[in-house]
Subunit: 374 residues, 2 copies
């Protein structure tokens, strides 16, 4: 690791102290002097298999990463599901928090805070417990109960806020300086992306270093897409893969679609989405600070940004679960719905290798399943 | 695999057709002509790493097994948690069902049925979906809602019964012949144990083929204990480990303790536990058909069978979660409570290597956490 660079203005920072955003207000990227690593020498069952391209030397782990790629098909069109439900705390958020908490603690933080519409809170609570530091979590009052209970089980301090995720962020922001909290919000520190990028490394390895044609990913804050894009670039620089990239497809809910809207308007950044609402709580992100990075990535790879309705995504959640055995969450269902739409529209062709991300376990979504019964 | 042998009367059966119990009414064991396998040649990240000592050649998988061993300590006494929460459907039941469903389907079954007090139902639902066969699940009406919803998400047919697990088994038994269901109840077919035994193989490998001193395991139906005991014996025959065994500790709830009661009375089998009741739904098993196998294993290894109260196990659930970051379930909490009791009683000494099993994710236990808040 040689330092940090702003994703937007390219200003450099050393990676030796706690830092949130660039002076210009945009996210920071971790840079490496990438060694000529031998990809055949990787060891371990979890995401620390890629430790040589990760910033933390510390290795406290709950076994995050190393998730399965499950092959299935729909009406003869094959697809793969990357099942992130089998992570600690049941979601992909474990990868980012494992690394972000390790780095924050290494750099001196003892009180960590995050706003969360769902899974990020539980993941922070878990890794704060693992490292023996405090976790302070701000959640919308209508967050799924399982997310709140998980934080409490893991010993975190939970504050419920009337509003959406950005309202939680605001409430956190007003208190953090006085309380001495380090803010681990999505892309407001450089290291969650580094954990998330291991999804990209795993995909490459699971496809025998020959990336798939299409990756369909549910988009809230966007660190997953951004992390995978970064992983692909790093692997190319190390000679692990070639220049080919999957078409990156961002999936949002019809009721909260800032990225899909900006994409369709040809814009390079997004606006706060008005009256944001969807049953898929992880997609209730009305504005993402990394919007410009995502929009660039989607366009560069020839991908697209689409929306699905709550009805369609819940129907697809049941459909994907019952046909594969995977504990699908509504965000994963949204990707399966989008996959079917893209096949129907001829944008995905038979024979293409398509990956759908199931970002977490359906177990936490009691309210959604109650409102949309099987 | 060379055939099946009754755990009790030693009668032999071929392993070529669907079978439940021995004619004498007791469970059947799978026997192998164990080859001189090289333990350094194991490959893969999940339980199919041990495929050479498993009966199924089919390899449909959701990524079950390969769970982490997490090191922690309490007041200076070190212990390890084997975290089964990160399995598909969030519990250790995935291991047994992955194999039992594969074998049942291979041998011609198309409709599978099981009574379940919790996690077994979800696991059957998942693997039935993976293999494209029907799942019929009989659950107590007071089963945690998350367990029922998970079965429905995965496309299973759920029947709720007024009563306990053995009442569910009875209701299933009355219908199975007419409906053509194959009964996958705990130890009423030979292959769930074969999946569970992979926990023993993983433990040995994670401790570098030098077994720990004590294994503390929550006991409902008992396939976990029985499977691990079988794994240790198989590994010794292959020369992978020596003759040393961990002291096997069975943990039950004070309100449902058939094994602990039989153990303390010096008996070799158990009675139906009257008015069985506990908040830890996985321990609500008033009588286990494999009681005699467990009691023999516990005594042979110098282990013990203990009970903890619901108050103590819920307190320990929160304590273990908040000190490790693991999504602990009440059954895992019961083991942690028992660990503390055994240390206090001098039955576990400093420096011994102790493994506590967290058999599933706490995420499914909303009712328990509501009744016993943090």
């Amino acid at each position: 690791m040689i330092g940090l660079t702003c994703f937007s203005c390219a200003k450099h920072y050393p990676a030796t102290e706690l830092i949130n955003l660039c002076e210009c207000g945009k996210p920071l990227r971790v840079d490496y002097d990438l060694p000529a690593l031998d990809r055949s020498k990787l060891t371990g069952l979890d995401m620390w298999r890629y430790r040589d391209v990760l910033p933390a030397s510390t290795h406290k782990t709950l076994g995050e990463g190393g998730t399965p790629l499950i092959r299935s098909d729909r009406n003869g069109v094959e697809f793969y599901v990357k099942d992130e439900a089998v992570n600690p705390t049941g979601s992909f958020k474990a990868r980012g928090m494992a690394l972000a908490v390790a780095m924050a603690v290494k750099l001196g933080a003892t009180k960590l805070a995050v706003p969360s519409a769902g899974n990020a809170g539980g993941a922070l609570a878990a890794y704060a417990a693992l490292h023996g530091v405090e976790a302070h979590i701000f959640m919308p009052r209508d967050v799924p109960e399982a997310n709140r209970m998980e934080c409490e089980l893991l010993g975190a301090h939970v504050t419920l806020i009337d509003g959406l995720l950005h309202d939680c962020a605001k409430a956190l922001g007003e208190r953090k300086e006085h309380e001495g909290w380090f803010d681990l919000s999505t892309l407001k520190e450089p290291y969650r992306v580094e954990g998330k990028k291991t999804m990209g490394y795993e995909l490459a390895e699971q496809f025998d270093w020959n990336l798939p044609d299409v990756v369909i990913y549910p988009t809230g804050g966007g660190t997953g897409l951004i992390g995978m894009g970064k992983a692909f670039d790093e692997m190319e620089r190390m000679g692990w893969i070639g220049a080919k990239r999957p078409r990156m497809v961002s999936v949002q809910a019809a009721g909260c679609a800032p990225i899909a809207t900006a994409f369709s308007q040809g814009r390079s950044d997004s606006d706060l989405y008005p009256n944001a609402s969807t049953i898929a709580s992880g997609l209730r992100v009305a504005r993402a600070i990394g919007d410009f990075i995502m929009l660039d990535l989607i366009r560069k790879t020839g991908g697209t940004a689409v929306t699905v309705t709550d009805e369609a995504l819940m129907k697809a959640t049941y459909g994907l679960a019952a046909s594969t055995g995977i504990s699908v969450c509504p965000e994963g269902g949204a990707c399966y719905a989008a996959f079917q739409d893209l096949v129907a529209a001829g944008q995905i062709k038979e024979g293409e290798r398509v990956v759908i991300f199931n970002t977490g376990t359906g177990l936490k979504y009691r309210e959604a399943f109650t409102r949309y019964p099987a």
